[in-house]
Point group: C2
Chain length 84, copies 2
């Protein structure tokens, strides 16, 4: 595998984990007052677009990575509405 | 421009704006207690990797989009350390 591919796959893998620490923190502390709902709504819409892009290109790395981020964005929107 | 390209550019443009509502909210409210520092540290490292990927591919859309997200992640890390 070329260096450029390793960098790309690493970046993709880390992207899918970006929201995880926030999900864990909010789940533990049951508080989301300082969290921007709009950030996760934008992220949610964005992930749907990325998944559509992956489907159109038949690229499973894009589909899988963004499905993980979509699910975490959904959890954060639910947390924000529940815990305020 | 093909439909797939429109979807890709739209997704890229929205990605670069994802953190903006959080930056504005935290700047206004001077409070970042519920924010995960780790989320933005992961995002920061991730953006550096994406920019490296863009440089290696000589792809200015990737470089520009991720430079915007990198700058917003830097601001959020600074806000988190400052406002707690």
């Amino acid at each position: 595998m070329a260096f450029v591919d390793i960098v790309g796959y690493s970046a993709g893998a880390i992207t899918s984990l970006t929201f995880l620490p926030q999900v864990i923190k909010t789940w533990k502390e049951r508080s989301a007052r300082d969290i921007s709902l709009m950030m996760f709504v934008i992220a949610w819409i964005n992930e749907v677009l990325w998944i559509l892009y992956g489907v159109l290109l038949d690229n499973w790395v894009i589909i899988l990575t963004n499905s993980i981020v979509l699910s975490m964005s959904s959890v954060m929107i639910w947390f924000k509405l529940r815990y305020k």
